[in-house]
Amino acid sequence: MKLNMLYFARLRERFGVAEESVELAGTTVMDLVAQLQARGGVWAEELAAGRSFRVAVNQEIVAPEAALTDNAEIAIFPPVTGG
């Protein structure tokens, strides 16, 4: 399925990309994260197990087990620090 990826804040800067289109082989958030980690470099580093990041699907934060749907808006970002 095709996913519309967004990256924010420190992760946007580290990845060097604010948005992109990704073709996902799997079905869940975990599958997506694994596919991005497989790119190596900063992707492997920032998305490694134990690193703190959040994933939102269609603008709602979800758990790693969450299922994805075609054309979903997926955002990956660090823990929030507003207020």
Partner: protein, 150 residues
């Protein structure tokens, strides 16, 4: 209910007056203003830039307010959060809650702030003498919001 994300400064007095306008059923307005400080984590901060996730921000703030309305009987809520570059002393966020009774106004105002800190997609980047740095999330904010778990 009013939710705004804006670069411009806001006016606490004007926002609270707008909530009160023409009403005689409000007994209590609790409000909070968060400000940019000149110090954080032991080093001087010259400025900060707030980034956010447009669209999700407003949805996340509306969800927090909906939760507050379920937990407490509120008459009105205003949340304004600024984005862009801010200097020490500048306002960052305003939460104002009107209710018939003070206990509910205080609780809802603090709940919304605590929840906003951990759930609304804003990120701060600080400018210090040593260069720029992204602010790390604080464990104390997780502790603060955990107090509200039912």
């Amino acid at each position: 209910m009013k939710i705004v994300v804006q670069a411009e400064v806001f006016d606490l007095g004007a926002e609270v007056n707008a909530m009160r306008q023409g009403r005689t059923d409000i007994g209590a307005v609790a409000s909070f203003v968060g400000l940019a400080r000149d110090m954080n984590e032991g080093s001087g901060v010259q400025a900060m830039t707030l980034e956010h996730y447009p669209g999700m921000t407003e949805k996340a703030l509306a969800a927090l307010i909906d939760e507050a309305n379920v937990r407490w009987t509120l008459l009105d809520v205003t949340v304004i959060h600024r984005v862009g570059r801010l200097l020490p002393g500048d306002s960052i966020v305003l939460v104002a809650v009107a209710s018939s009774h003070r206990g509910e106004a205080f609780a809802a105002c603090e709940f919304i702030m605590d929840a906003l800190k951990t759930r609304a997609p804003f990120w701060k980047k600080e400018e210090t003498a040593e260069g720029e740095r992204w602010v790390d999330a604080r464990a104390s904010d997780d502790t603060a919001v955990a107090r509200w778990a039912k």
